[in-house]
């Protein structure tokens, strides 16, 4: 259970919020001019990366406002929250690195549970 900082209300329990999918996906204003494939790309297809991801949340049981969040989906680190319409801030995080596509630490994946002998402690 995360603690999430609503940009308008402050820090609250995750149970007050709902995830609203990938951020920065603008609704095409010229839908009628798009091919089926282009339109389907907007309606049905979303990125689902392992690692840094910009997603929308809504403070359902609070101010009801939508906002953006940068989260590392491999480690569940919440790196930033920012308002709708704003550009994502620059953040640093441990990106997936190992061959199995895992962050080098903080992931539940097998590949990173145990240190290799040569790894610095």
């Amino acid at each position: 259970m995360f603690l999430i900082t609503c940009p308008y209300c402050g820090t609250r329990d995750q149970s007050e919020f709902s995830n609203a999918g990938e951020a920065h996906v603008a609704r095409p204003a010229n839908g009628e001019e798009l091919t089926d494939e282009q339109w389907a790309d907007f309606v049905f297809l979303r990125n689902n990366p392992k690692g840094l991801f910009a997603e929308r949340w809504v403070h359902t049981a609070g101010c009801r406002r939508f906002f953006n969040m940068l989260r590392n989906t491999a480690t569940d680190e919440i790196l930033a929250v920012y308002e709708i319409g704003a550009k994502p801030p620059k953040v640093t995080t441990v990106e997936p690195a190992t061959p199995s596509g895992e962050a080098p630490i903080g992931s539940g994946n097998d590949a990173v549970k145990v240190m290799r002998p040569e790894e610095p402690k």
């Binding site: 259970m1 339109w39 389907a40 480690t75 630490i105 539940g108 990173v112 402690k121």
Partner: protein
């Protein structure tokens, strides 16, 4: 038999002045306050408490705490309160406690299932998988046998009468574990002023300090227990500290969120449990910093016949001796691979047992240990192994042979009698919580075990959890960890000075780990247990590796090793080592299985906390609810709401009630409580533009005082909601939604206003609860409205359909809408919710001369179906467009973009063979179709499966107004099939012939078509 023959004369945290009586396996026993079931049974010389999961072999008490794998019993026989799979090493005794042996029949000591043991060769690793994968008949044949034979306790058979709760807490420093390191950490952080929570899994603080000989060890000139008491008293005196005993930190989640499980009153007899306290609590702690002082777990040795009752971890034997004042054996044989077990041997000897020998896998033993053993007169067997044990329901002896240079055994076999075999394979840091926190483990070659490596969250490990085994080191490391944690939490702290330790014993040294200790027996005759709970032997794991399960996670699941209620606390490390050995890989490469939450089984009841019964989910009721209740209403849940489904009169059937209500709504007048409809107040200068974009039809010309029905689509073009929206002013609208869709619709609308069309000035809020609504249907409804309301002429000739106005009832303002979901003349009266019950009484009173009836949702469903109106969620399922509903008329071609518009011209949505909504009339008017039944094109089901399906029935009713059954269905190219003959399949009968029709059955009747 003497009561408690193994009870020592003094010592331990028990109160010998009081006697506690309890029953186990149908026999009476006594113990003392402070005893666990395990210590009390051992005091009475009872070692065997259970039978194995698979082979039903006798199982004893192996550990002294939560690490014990097999000493599980059922507590209590009351169907509501019985608790299965309770560890005897954790359950404290109370007067009247009743414990039952599990998985035995007819009794613990004589069990028919033990015959499984003779067939053990037929129950190898992967037995279930192989049976599943084999011919179907195999599973059929084995299943009853497996179900009967394998198993643990019985689930309660009645609702839980006890109370549970969950608590949310924040703290600066959470300390998990109340041993020497944990105590110093908590003390240090607390003295610096940090808000501290200290959680100790057992009933008392002190950890391993309670398991040492108090005559030998001193802390700051105090006996260990006295020192623990002094620290406990100091902590208790500070407001910023919460000390929780009987509380296990069971789960370490993201962002330093840690779950604690407190067994508040499980140690008390049900009648003694304080009424103000729950039985158990879950603490949901958000800690700025965490200190993991979770100690170490002793490792078993893997040797032939290592599973008999009376075989016990050496550390556990010491715990029973000193913490509980019970000597678990009179003649003790010690089998070890490290120094700490020698200390255990000396300890047991000086506590009154006779040590029959120490067998050590190591050849080179420290000179100090050798001379102490000589002083005690203990015979020693260095460089030797136990190669077999004897004893049916309790170990009675073991055979010992010398280890050879080649890794086998050689030389003569020495038989040694014993009634307790204390084993020790070294100590493993308890890294479960650390690993749950997603820290990385490191394999320590000296330790032959894993210890914490690289931290990920805000925690640090201290004491034996961090592989610091000497007492002085534990105390110091704990203090340092407490200071570090408090400082990092923003409260500068200096490590408290630990007490001076005198007489501390030597730590374990470097254990000699042998994955499978040689016995000199042929391979197939070796039975060496890795996991005592799941009955997994070395043979099973090696078979798994041979069959290609070379990932430890796969080998675990194939053999079920570590998958029991103990999650392999003592077994896992041996399993990893054996698999690594079989694969000829270093252990760090084999890795570990995943340490998942919870660290030990937490009851469902504690997890659910207060959220049970009426508190499981909020239930919403309308202001008129009490009236419905006292007038025979049968309720149904709709979304979170409880709605009256029908009002049954005494002696009346449900069906008869629905018929009566629906006829009243057609022929005279009937009233529906429509308060649950979602209502959204929409304002702003761009509100009209917004409605144009969220509904499929045009809203530009809707004048104040008028209302309009709208369909709302998702961006995929599928119908998501519908409802009537009224224009109150040019910039003010009152939108209604379906009862279940209200919250979803508001979020959908907010999403577009807040994130897409931020240039529009529109404000929305939910007003569902602000208004109570009575919907009046039937030819006389206008007369009732006329009688009730002032300032309105509801005459249908004057008050137009789809219009609304304000009025008053006895001076109370109302909004009256002339809208209809039944096809009959209908009015909706909206009033401030507080007046809802009052309004309802008024309606019933005013309607009495016209024979007004209340009607419920079932009649409402029937009435709207008679008119051919759809219900979103019944006719639609998220894959239905307006054209599929044959409601093209509601999709504006003229206006600009709206949500879902582009999707209505996708190649998939313009297909002509899509399913469309039609009416179905059975050729036999008395036959009712089943909702969900398949529509097919042939009079009999073709032999070849699957049967081609044209669609399905969405609604089906017996309509008194139409005088026959009616139904609606989604049928392939339905709109083009008018008049066609189709069939609807039914279970256990021939398909029913039907005619495809329009959906407005009322009109069809008017036109004489039905």
């Amino acid at each position: 038999m003497t009561a408690q023959p193994n009870r020592r004369a003094s010592g331990g945290l028990i109160d010998r002045s009081k006697v506690v009586r309890f029953r186990f396996d149908g026999r009476d026993f006594s113990g003392h306050p402070g005893d666990t079931l395990a210590s009390a049974l051992l005091a009475n010389d009872e070692h065997m408490v259970a039978r194995g999961f698979k082979y039903h072999r006798p199982r004893g008490i192996f550990g002294a705490g939560s690490e014990d794998p097999t000493a599980l019993v059922q507590i209590g026989s009351d169907a509501a309160r019985t608790d299965p799979n309770t560890r005897v090493t954790e359950q404290e005794i109370y007067d009247g406690l009743e414990a039952l042996a599990q998985n035995v029949w007819p009794s613990l000591k004589f069990d028919v299932g033990a015959v499984n043991d003779l067939f053990s060769a037929f129950l190898p690793a992967g037995f279930y998988y192989k049976t599943f994968m084999g011919p179907l008949g195999n599973w059929m044949a084995f299943e009853p046998f497996i179900r009967k034979a394998a198993g643990l306790g019985k689930a309660p058979g009645a609702p839980d009468p006890d109370r549970y709760e969950s608590i949310n807490r924040h703290c600066d420093v959470l300390v998990a574990g109340g041993g020497p390191a944990g105590l110093m950490a908590a003390l240090t952080a607390a003295k610096a002023g940090a808000r501290v929570i200290l959680a100790e899994e057992t009933a008392a603080l002190g950890g391993r300090l309670l398991s040492v000989d108090p005559d030998k060890v001193n802390l700051g000139d105090m006996a260990p227990t006295a020192w623990v008491e002094s620290i406990a008293a100091e902590l208790a005196g500070m407001d910023n500290v919460t000390v929780l005993t009987r509380t296990a930190a069971f789960g370490y989640y993201a962002q330093n969120f840690v779950g604690l499980w407190e067994r508040v009153s499980d140690h008390l007899a049900p009648n003694d449990q304080p009424a103000n306290l729950p039985r158990q609590r879950v603490w949901r702690v958000r800690a700025r910093e965490v200190v993991l002082a979770t100690g170490a777990v002793e490792r078993p040795l893997v040797f032939h016949e290592n599973d008999r009752p009376g075989i016990m971890l050496a550390g556990a034997a010491r715990t029973f001796t000193h913490r509980y004042g019970v000597l678990p054996g009179k003649r003790v044989l010690v089998f070890a691979n490290n120094d700490s077990a020698w200390e255990a041997a000396f300890d047991l000897q000086s506590s009154g047992a006779r040590v029959a020998g120490i067998v050590d896998l190591r050849r080179d033993i420290d000179g100090g240990l050798l001379s102490t053993a000589a002083e005690h007169g203990i015979s020693i067997h260095p460089g030797a192994a136990i190669v077999g044990t004897s004893g049916a329901q309790r170990v009675s002896g073991a055979t010992v042979r010398r280890m050879s240079d080649s890794g086998g055994v050689e030389g003569p076999v020495t038989a040694i009698e014993c009634d307790l075999l204390a084993v020790s394979g070294g100590w493993m840091p308890n890294i479960a919580l650390f690993s749950q926190s997603r820290g990385k483990l490191v394999y320590d070659e000296d330790l032959s075990a894993f210890r914490p490596g690289q931290s990920w969250q805000k925690e640090r490990s201290a004491g034996s959890a961090a592989a610091t085994f000497d007492l002085d080191g534990c105390l110091k490391e704990g203090a340092r960890a407490g200071a570090d944690a408090a400082s990092k939490a923003g409260i500068p702290a200096k490590a408290e000075r630990p007490p001076k330790v005198e007489g501390a014993e030597r730590p374990q040294g470097t254990p000699r780990v042998i994955p499978e200790i040689p016995s000199g027996r042929p391979r197939h005759k070796v039975r060496a247990w890795i996991d005592l709970q799941d009955d997994v032997t070395t043979k099973d794991l090696k078979l798994a590796v041979n069959e290609g399960y070379d990932s430890i996670e796969h080998a675990k699941r194939y053999t079920t090793s570590g998958m029991g209620t103990d999650q392999g606390k003592v077994a896992n490390m041996n399993a990893f080592a054996l698999v690594a050995d079989a694969l000829k890989k270093p252990i760090w490469q084999v890795g570990t299985t995943t340490y998942r939450q919870p660290w030990k089984p937490v009851t469902f009841a504690a997890m659910a906390g207060q959220h049970v019964g009426d508190h499981f989910h909020p239930r919403r009721v309308t202001p008129m609810h009490d009236w419905h209740k006292s007038n025979g209403a049968v309720f149904e849940p709709v979304g979170d709401w409880l709605r009256a489904r029908a009002y049954q009169r005494p002696g009346e059937s449900f069906e008869a009630a629905v018929r009566r209500e629906s006829l009243a709504a057609r022929e005279s007048v009937a009233a529906l409580d429509a308060s649950t409809l979602g209502k959204i107040d929409i304002r702003g200068k761009d509100a009209r533009t917004f409605l144009n974009r969220v509904y499929t039809n045009a809203w530009s010309k809707l004048a104040p005082g008028k209302a309009r029905y709208g369909l709302m689509l998702g961006e995929d073009g599928m119908v998501m909601d519908d409802g009537v929206t009224a224009c109150l002013a040019d910039d003010h609208f009152h939108m209604t939604t379906t009862t279940g869709g209200a919250a979803r619709v508001l979020t959908h609308l907010e999403d577009y206003i807040q994130t897409e069309w931020t240039d529009l000035e529109v404000y929305m809020t939910t007003v569902t609860e602000e208004w109570a609504v009575a919907s009046l249907s039937g030819p006389d409804s206008w007369r009732v409205v006329a009688e009730l309301c002032d300032g309105i002429d509801p005459d249908p000739e004057k008050f137009e359909f789809m219009s609304h106005t304000t009025a008053t009832i006895d001076g109370v303002p109302v909004r009256v809408f002339r809208i209809s979901f039944t096809g009959a003349l209908a009015y909706e009266i909206n009033i401030a919710a507080d007046y809802g019950a009052w309004l309802w009484d008024k309606v019933m009173e005013a309607g009495q001369p016209y024979g007004i009836q209340p009607y419920g949702t079932e009649a409402m469903h029937l009435l709207r179906a008679e008119k051919g109106f759809v219900i979103v969620g019944q006719e639609t399922d998220g894959t239905v467009t307006p054209a599929d509903l044959r409601m093209d008329w509601i999709v504006s071609k003229a206006k600009g973009d709206f949500i879902g518009k582009r999707s209505l011209s996708r190649s998939d949505t313009v297909r002509t063979d899509r399913k469309q909504l039609v009416g179905l009339l059975t050729e036999d008017p008395t036959l009712m179709l089943e909702e969900g039944a398949h529509v097919i094109a042939t009079a009999t089901e073709p032999a070849e499966k699957p049967v081609p399906m044209l669609g399905h029935v969405t609604s089906s009713y017996d309509s008194p107004t139409i005088g026959r059954s009616i139904a609606m269905a989604m049928v392939e190219s339905g709109g083009a099939r008018m008049g066609e003959r189709l069939w609807v399949s039914r279970k256990g009968g021939t398909p029913i012939p039907v005619k495809v029709t329009e959906t407005d059955f009322l009109k069809m009747r008017e036109d004489g078509d039905v």
